[in-house]
């Protein structure tokens, strides 16, 4: 029997990436609130640290004019008009302010000659409503995310945030439309802890591990998403999953868009700059979905390098100095993992699963909303696991980091406000009962015959890569649906090896595997349902965008193991949908 520990806080933050820490710092700054941060990884291990290229803010530091309205327009266009314009307006208007705030927290941005925050070009970011590329991405060499994560963690220490490191949340206490806390596994001991709270924010990051080739960490398993889904909260726009065009071949390790921002060029087997064909205006700096599709098309036409499933990212014309100073990490990756020098050789790349535009539906303060737009009291979501929706059908590079800090801050403020007016709501008998049963059952399979979780993951990842990635068809998706159902059944029969309690990652891996299969199913279901092509969701059997029928968000809720789908209108305030060409 597992022993149970109990804690009570005003506010709880689940996840210590950029968004979670931003919320935590803001909660801590409010003073009297008791706040705890729960994270299954040490905070600085969070995946925000891998973000390379930059954070978008219309500062206009590079001697070019820039306005947040232009940023707003680019984001909306990038989202293929599915993004909610009220939320996008909030994000783009607040982003300069938040970037300055990060600088005031000590974040070591790279600098311009006159000492201001340096900025670079990024895909889809333009001046004057789409005219020409603009330098909008504020960066700290090519470790912007690392510096954001470090800076926010430092600030958390400064403000005495209370951390529960290596605590994995395994259940949410959502009852009668309100969230009253969470149950977490203390990984180091294998014991369960009940955390009661007035407000709880999920900041658990993405779920890229569902795909085979991915830029995401092995720990990005979408826990927050399947946890809320299991408690009857819908997930929004799950069919929109971004494939980043330039992942290192086979490994999926990301090569930042900053490389193209600095002048890198994509080339096919013949050495041709093929993006001229697909995006005559912005070329290699078109938005990510466009570039990923172009690469797939080149590969299909037999123009991949040596006819294989990859193309080249050519950075040789940047020169050694730009590469060593502005892209040192990238150079290091190439040397370490590929044994090539990007100064003299092109980098072999292929699209890699990267970012979830969809997620837990929220309002502009991070408050989670249900199927009918009703708020789930005390429950918030921010960062990649949330869907505000500012990214719509396709996220622009640099906008995720903006999303993290802008909405992390807003959620922190809103939660503090909420906590002051709210009381702790009671939880039912034995709140940890469900988790205990689930985990004990899994533990009791140790050493018995059963399915291997790693094998199930492998099959799921391959399936999703082949059938539910850049190009989709009814046939592929239907096939995936059937196979995923099989995998889900097999996942019920997982048997683990490790019978011990302390640090049983075999147990948590298995638990995460089940959740990921559920997310793969929801994603596939939503992709099958949306019969149009928009942003990252590209249906070959429905190649056009269909505003008449599909200018709306999908909401999927799981009931008795099957997804039910509903819809939500898109907020359109300033920019009417137009055809999207780059």
């Amino acid at each position: 029997m597992m022993s149970i520990h109990e804690h009570t806080f005003d506010a709880i933050v689940v996840g210590a990436g950029g968004s979670g820490l931003m919320a935590a710092v803001y909660l801590a700054k409010q003073g009297s609130l008791r706040t705890a941060v729960l994270s299954k990884l040490y905070p600085t291990r969070s995946h925000t640290g891998t973000a390379q290229g930059g954070i978008g803010a219309a500062l206009g530091n590079m001697g070019e004019e820039d306005h947040w309205e232009w940023h707003m327009f680019d984001t909306i266009k990038g989202s293929d008009y599915l993004g909610d314009q009220d939320a996008i307006e909030v994000m783009c208007r607040e982003s300069p302010e938040v970037v300055y705030e990060l600088e005031h927290m000590g974040l070591p941005f790279s600098r311009t000659e006159d000492g201001r925050i340096a900025q670079r070009r990024f895909g889809g970011h333009t001046s004057n409503f789409g005219e020409a590329p603009v330098r909008r991405a504020c960066y700290a060499a090519d470790r912007t995310g690392h510096m954001i994560l470090q800076t926010l963690y430092q600030q958390s220490i400064k403000h005495d945030v209370e951390f529960f490191d290596e605590f994995q949340v395994v259940d949410l206490l959502i009852e009668d439309g309100s969230c009253r806390g969470a149950v977490a596994l203390n990984i180091a001991t294998g014991e369960l802890h009940i955390f009661r709270s007035k407000a709880l924010v999920l900041a658990t990051g993405g779920y890229g591990q569902v795909w085979e080739i991915t830029s995401n960490a092995v720990t990005l398993t979408g826990d927050g998403l399947f946890l809320v889904a299991r408690r009857g909260v819908p997930l929004e726009d799950m069919e929109f999953y971004q494939f980043h065009p330039t992942g290192i071949r086979r490994m999926g390790i990301l090569i930042t868009e900053g490389v193209r921002g600095e002048g890198g060029i994509l080339r096919n087997h013949a050495g041709e700059r093929f993006m001229e064909l697909y995006a005559p205006n912005l070329k290699d700096l078109a938005s990510r979905d466009v570039v990923s599709r172009a690469i797939y098309k080149e590969i299909r036409a037999g123009r991949g390098i040596n006819g294989e499933r990859y193309v080249h990212l050519d950075a040789t014309q940047l020169g050694a100095e730009v590469i060593e100073n502005k892209l040192p990490e990238i150079a290091d990756f190439c040397r370490t993992y590929l044994g090539i020098d990007p100064v003299t050789e092109p980098i072999p790349i292929q699209p890699t699963a990267h970012y979830a535009m969809g997620g837990i539906p929220t309002d502009v303060d991070g408050g989670v909303v249900g199927m009918q737009g009703e708020p789930v009291r005390g429950l918030y979501a921010i960062g990649e696991c949330a869907c505000v929706s500012v990214h719509g059908a396709n996220r622009l590079g640099t906008n995720s980091l903006v999303d993290l800090v802008v909405f992390g801050r807003r959620a922190g403020i809103a939660m503090a406000e909420y906590c002051r007016g709210a009381d702790l709501e009671p939880t039912g008998e034995d709140p940890a009962g469900r988790s205990r049963e689930e985990l004990e059952a899994l533990l009791s399979t140790a050493g018995k015959d059963g399915e291997n979780a790693a094998e199930i993951r492998r099959e799921m990842k391959e399936l999703m890569m082949d059938n539910v990635s850049v190009f989709r068809t009814d046939e592929l998706l239907s096939e995936a649906k059937v196979k995923l159902e099989e995998l889900r059944e097999r996942a019920d029969r997982i048997a683990i090896d490790d019978p011990s309690r302390a640090f049983n990652l075999d147990l948590t891996d298995a638990w995460e595997t089940r959740g990921m299969v559920e997310l793969a199913q929801i994603t596939t279901e939503c992709a099958l349902n949306r019969t149009e092509s928009r942003g990252a969701h590209s249906r070959e059997d429905y190649p056009d965008r269909d505003d008449e029928n599909w200018l709306k968000h999908t909401l999927a809720v799981v009931r008795d193991g099957a997804s039910e789908i509903g819809y939500k209108p898109v907020s359109i305030t300033r920019f009417e949908p137009k055809e999207r060409v780059y």
């Binding site: 990884l41 040490y42 600085t44 291990r45 969070s46 995946h47 640290g49 891998t50 500062l59 300055y100 600088e103 005031h104 927290m105 000590g106 070591p108 941005f109 790279s110 600098r111 311009t112 000659e113 006159d114 000492g115 201001r116 925050i117 700290a140 060499a141 470790r143 690392h146 510096m147 470090q150 800076t151 430092q154 600030q155 220490i157 400064k158 180091a188 960490a217 092995v218 720990t219 490994m251 390790i253 990490e329 290091d332 990756f333 370490t336 993992y337 044994g339 291997n452 790693a454 683990i496 090896d497 490790d498 019978p499 011990s500 309690r501 302390a502 640090f503 049983n504 990652l505 075999d506």
Partner: protein, 232 residues
């Protein structure tokens, strides 16, 4: 290629002593050592326990002793270390299970150097200005991912757990040499203590171990000089 992994095991719940386990299997020379360990965990023995996350040398989870030296398992290719690979946990920390060590002391040393930006003046409306050169002065030490490879490679830290260790000094350096920061006096005072920088005997193991190739010994030297200059 055929590889033989010799892996340190410690499973306190089932067996009292620590021991080495051998696993032999086929791997590509371009596989990471972490891929090998994952292969073991996923297909040969699910009880093998280690921390890992990003798999490309950014998160700092999987610093281990690989063939005698500290490395990130995800930043060394099997082909580069040969077909016999010995994996041990970081030295100097208590082992919790297999390759997982207790990092509490490491983070407590980290916290002791005030690893955060201090400047109590009201900030300007926009960014504080900083010249390119001033930014360069601490660029190197901003790269630290807190993997602990350095501190656990340092003989001074092995024998003396109170030594705050190179990682904490690197973190302090990042602020001391940031001209926007104003907390350095306190930081230098903390680092000037018995268990601060002076415990560094310039062994250089740390610099060799750092996966981010931070010039740690140089950074420590700069801090030492700053303390001496501060006092005179």
């Amino acid at each position: 290629m055929r590889v033989l992994f010799k892996v340190y095991r410690y499973q306190p719940e089932t067996r009292e002593d620590a021991y080495f386990d051998s696993f032999e299997f086929d791997a590509e020379p371009t596989d990471r050592v972490l891929d090998g360990l994952n292969h073991i965990k996923w297909h040969l023995d699910g009880t093998l326990t280690l921390r890992r996350s990003c798999q490309h040398g950014i998160c700092g989870s999987d610093a281990l002793r690989i063939n005698g030296v500290n490395r990130l398992a995800c930043k060394v290719l099997i082909g580069d270390v040969g077909s016999k690979i010995k994996i041990e946990p970081l030295m100097g920390f208590t082992v919790i299970k297999d390759l997982v060590v207790d990092m509490d002391r490491f983070f407590s040393h980290y916290r002791s150097v005030m690893p955060y930006f201090v400047n109590d003046e009201a900030p300007p409306d926009r960014e504080r200005l900083q010249s390119v050169e001033a930014r360069d002065a601490y660029d190197d030490t901003t790269k630290c991912i807190l993997c602990a490879a350095c501190t656990t490679s340092c003989p001074s830290a092995w024998s003396n757990p109170d030594f705050i260790g190179p990682a904490a000094i690197v973190q302090a350096h990042r602020f001391i040499f940031d001209d926007r920061d104003e907390g350095s006096e306190e930081r230098l005072a903390a680092l000037g203590q018995r268990d601060g920088v002076w415990r560094c005997r310039t062994v250089f193991n740390c610099t060799r171990a750092c996966p981010k190739e931070i010039q740690i010994t140089k950074a420590i030297g700069e801090v030492k000089k700053a303390i001496v200059a501060d006092r005179s």
